[in-house]
Every structure is written in structure tokens, then in C-alpha cells.
Amino acid sequence: MTAENGNLYKPHIVTVTEVWEETPTIKTFRMVFDDPKVGDNFTFKAGQFGEYSVFGEGEATFCIANSPTRKGYIECSVKEVARMTHGLHLLDVGDKVGFRGPYGNWFPLEEMKGKKLMFIGGGIGLAPLRSLIQNVLDTRKDFDQVDIIYAARCEEEFVYKREIEEWKASSDCGLCLAVDPIPDQVCGDDVRVSFIPPILEEMKPNPKNRIVITCGPPIMIKLVTAKLEELGWPAEQIITTLEMKMKCGLGKCGRCNIGSTYVCKDGPVFTYEQIRSFPQEY
């Protein structure tokens, strides 16, 4: 989707229609395109991302965190860390944001049909998975068993608490919540105190006709993929989405390169088999 005059860097204007706090440092923003024509024609697929801007503070890359099945708006979940995200966190309903996108590739939804899916998320890494989870749950009959494993440092750090409650109550998906085994950890009875690999060790998910989709801190992804391989999982059945620093989103600025791969164009969604062939620099 490009601006009319060919200037790829000029965003569309979107208006914040809803903001809610996920954790003390993470908020989710729902936004609607100001130009109804742009909004009506806007399509994307789960896994794609955008360049969001707060005018005067700059531009940053976030995934589109809602599902394309939930039309009429886009959502992003953002942790407050520096100038741009601070500016974003100050915004309220009615405020304007710039949006360029959708960019990048997407989760192979078609290939997932008829299969069992296991989502493994850590911290705010649940955001890109949420788009696909919503998509899968909205078209539930197309898929076999669906399981979600989600971990964060502590319960307070869980994002999408409202949806987690829905998932808990629903028979559409299995849910396993976990918090890090750190001293003085306090959590509910239905929350495990464990890192994810021991949970996988216990569950021993069978790779037959099943795909794992994982996203979280790099260290979590590394440990999860190592554990799955140990459990006999073929690398091509493990899918993740990479978060590299990006600026243009268009395969020009060179920021997101891993070897000859442009994460913004060739990714951000990759199988673990692809990632293994990259220079180990992500």
C-alpha cells in the first residue's frame, strides 16, 4: 500500500479509537483509518507488521496485533521504552498516528489448515501470535487441536488478560500459563511456575500433523526450539517471527538484515529451518 504520489515514506493517518493498559508498561491501541477509502481497501494477513509514527517523535515497527478477521481497525501493543513509544503511550482516544503497511510476509495459514497448532509465547511476544490466534479461533473449524502456552516474568506481565480469560473459558483451545521461577513468585493456582522448556519436556507434544508457532524473547525462542528438536521436532514445523530493528520496512535501509535476508521483506515469519541457515546474528 503506497501513498498516491509514490512517496513510500508518507504514512496513512489513523485515529486512536481505544486504548487499554495490558501491563504497567504495555498498552494496546486500536486505530481506524481516517480516509474511509483507505480503510475499506486495507487488507493484511496475520504476521504482517507496520511502521507506526507519532508525529514529532518518530516512527517504529510493530506487528499488527489483531486478526484480519476482525475488520475495520488495526491494533498494536507497545511497551514504553524510549522516545517514540513514550509519545505513543501519551496518546488518548481521538489522537492521530501515522501508519505505513502492511509489510512483510505472514504466517502460512493455508498450510496450517487441518493441522494441530501449538502456540508458544513469551511476554510481549504474544502480540504477533495473537493476530494468528484470533484468526484461527475465528475460523476454528478449519483446524485440528489448538493449544496455547504463554509465559511471562510474573502474572502482572501477562498481556491480553481479557483474552486469556476468554481462552480459559473456551473449549476451542487448551491453555497453559506460566511465570518465571524467580524468588518470591506469587501467582494463581492455574498458573505454572516454570520456564517453558520443562513444560514441553513434560507434555512431549507429538510433531505428527502439528505445527508450533512461537514468539518471545530471543533466549526463550532459542531454548524452546532446542527443546523441541530434542523431542524430535523437524525444524520446518517450528515457525517464529523475528523482531529485528527496522526503519523503512521496504527492503532498503539495511537495518534488519541477517546475512542476505531482509527480515522486513523475506520475513518476519520464518521456519526454524530457514533461521538455522542464517548467520547466527539475530
Binding site: K10, F55, G56, G58, G94, K245, G254, R255, G259
Partner: protein, 333 residues
């Protein structure tokens, strides 16, 4: 072959005329710095065999470029396109390596999304190259990158310098039009061939580098690098950029991969040490870009050698890369 024979006076007088018709950028010295500058008088132009400090890249990918400006109120945003440079531009007396650099970068700026700003500037420029029959400085190594600096087929026109004067030849309609401002008769020109270039060395490192990505030798390639980024700023092919808001403007700025900020994220740094960042620079040029676009992202202009405050000689870097060997134990520290 017949070419347009010109004296130095013909060239300077022609440039005077040209600058009244169009914007001309040419090498000019100011306060001891030779760079491509906007020309007012033909007499100011450096016609000799000298290398500019910065490359001509800045005319196509400016160091800081407004992408648009904006007026942002509480509940409204107005975006305004930057003033358009619609005037044609003549880039005069850049060298064959500069022309190559633009051709190489055309690929990244057009491989999928077409970069409007780049293409517009490329389209409006007429490029008149001065051939290099001899290396401009001791640090030139374009011949190792397969560049024959006695020609520049992609340029709109080429000019050869000889003891008897200059010989000019157009390659395109734009070039013909630009050369019309110069008086001078067609004369039979001599054969032009290069001489006195340094011995060539192997620059086909695409696979060797990939195979030896984990080699501990990378730590010895340029240990003196302090990540200042000057090699990138003077480079005619480095094109990585940042996008920032400055006041009411969104700007595209040159950026450099040897700096720690380049890939630094909130809680993650994919290239945490300087040798990894230097490896990225070298491999982007000699492995990744060739893999992706079929061209080495370097023209052997030697500016990075001329300007490095740590005296890192990029030719030596490449020669060391030719000797990369697999790690004995494997894995990085």
C-alpha cells in the same frame, strides 16, 4: 574514433554557459576540501586528477533528506510534500567508480518497492564522467573490482584528459544535449587505456566469507575499528539509512552499521561486539549484497582508506578475508 576535442578554456566557458541553464555540481575546493559542490563559475571547477573527499552519493541520497513535513494538532495532522527539485541537474567530472556506485545502488532502491526519491534524482541527472586513465591516488583499487576506468558506459558522457587537451563523447541523448554547450571540433581521438594501476587481488569473496562466518580470524580483520562510521559516510555505495523526526519534518539520514546503535533494540543486541559490526560491513559489501543483487557493494574508490582515523586499510582487510579459515574449535566466543 572521432570525439569532441576541447581545451581547458572551452570546458570552463561551457560550464559557465551550462550553469546558467541548469544546476551543475562539480568538484570544487573550499577551505582545502575538494567536494562536489553547486557550481557558479566554470573557473572554480577542479579539472585535474584529484579525488573528492565525499562521493557524489549525496546528490542522490542526501545526508539528510526531508521525506515530508507535518503540522500535527491534537486531533489533526497535515502532511506536506517537500519542495520538489524539478530542475535538471548535471553532475560534472565525477569518476567511473562513482557511476558504477549509482548503478550498483539502483538495484537495492528498485528491487521490490521503487524508491521514489532516489529514482527521481537519478532521472533528472545528467552525468558527465571524467575517465581515470591512471589511478587518482595511491589508494585507488577499482581495477580489483573489475572496473575499467577508461570507460563508463552507464554515464551520459565521458571526457578524457590528455596532454593535448580533452576529448569528450556522449553516450546518451542527455549527454549529447549537455555536451552541446561546449565548443570544439570533432577530431580523431587516440586509444584510451589505463596504466599504472596497482596489482589486482581477488575480491570474489561471497562464498568464502559465508563459509567462514564463524572464523575467529574475523577478530583480527580490523581490531582497530572504533566504529566512528567515517568509512560509511565517504563511501559511494553505503546506503543504509535511519528515519527520524526533526521538528516538524520526517527525515531520512545516513546511518552506519559499524555503530552499536544500528541494531540495538530494547533488550537485545544482535551484534554486541565491534568485530561483529565490522564483519557486517565487510560481508554486506562482499557477500550479502552480491548474493542478493549480483553486485559487489564496493567500487574500490579507496575513500575509506583515505579517511580512516585508525589507518585501517580496506585493501588489507580484503586480503585478510582471502585468507579466512574455518574455526578449529567452531563457534563464537
Amino acid at each position: 574514433m572521432k570525439m569532441q576535442k576541447l581545451s581547458e578554456d572551452d570546458i570552463r566557458a561551457g560550464l559557465d554557459k551550462l550553469s546558467r541553464e541548469t544546476v551543475v555540481y562539480a568538484p570544487m575546493e573550499q577551505e582545502g576540501r575538494l567536494d562536489f559542490r553547486k557550481m557558479e563559475k566554470g573557473g572554480e571547477v577542479e579539472l585535474g586528477a584529484r579525488k573528492t573527499i565525499m562521493s557524489a552519493k549525496k546528490l542522490f541520497l542526501p545526508q539528510a533528506e526531508e521525506l515530508f513535513s507535518f503540522k500535527a494538532g491534537k486531533h489533526s495532522v497535515e502532511m506536506i510534500d517537500p519542495p520538489k527539485d524539478e530542475e535538471p541537474l548535471v553532475l560534472f567530472a565525477c569518476r567511473p567508480c562513482e557511476m558504477r556506485a549509482l548503478e550498483i545502488m539502483d538495484k537495492v532502491f528498485n528491487w521490490d518497492y521503487a524508491d521514489f526519491q532516489w529514482n527521481e534524482r537519478r532521472a533528472r541527472a545528467t552525468i558527465i564522467v571524467f575517465a581515470c586513465l591512471e589511478p587518482l591516488t595511491e589508494t585507488c583499487f577499482c581495477n580489483s573490482l573489475g572496473i575499467d576506468s577508461s570507460r563508463s558506459d552507464g554515464a551520459d558522457a565521458i571526457i578524457y584528459t590528455t596532454a593535448e587537451g580533452f576529448f569528450a563523447r556522449a553516450h546518451s541523448e542527455k549527454g549529447k544535449k549537455a555536451l552541446k554547450v561546449f565548443v570544439g571540433k570533432d577530431e580523431e581521438a587516440p586509444e584510451f587505456t589505463t596504466r599504472d594501476f596497482p596489482e589486482k587481488f581477488n575480491t570474489d569473496l561471497q562464498e568464502k566469507m559465508m563459509e567462514n562466518f564463524e572464523s575467529p580470524t574475523w577478530k583480527e580483520i580490523a581490531p582497530a575499528c572504533i566504529g566512528c562510521g567515517i568509512c560509511t559516510f565517504v563511501c559511494p555505495t553505503c546506503h543504509c539509512f535511519d528515519i527520524q523526526d526533526e521538528g516538524g519534518r520526517r527525515v531520512r539520514l545516513w546511518d552506519y552499521c559499524t555503530g552499536a546503535d544500528f541494531t540495538l533494540m530494547l533488550a537485545h543486541q544482535p551484534r554486541p561486539t565491534q568485530y561483529r559490526r565490522y564483519r557486517q560491513k565487510v560481508m554486506h559489501k562482499y557477500s550479502y549484497y552480491p548474493t542478493r543483487f549480483g553486485e559487489i557493494l564496493c567500487t574500490g574508490c579507496g575513500r575509506c582508506i583515505d579517511q580512516c582515523p585508525q589507518n585501517i586499510d580496506f585493501r588489507e582487510v580484503l586480503k585478510k578475508c582471502n585468507r579466512l579459515a574455518p574455526a578449529e574449535t567452531g563457534g563464537e566466543e
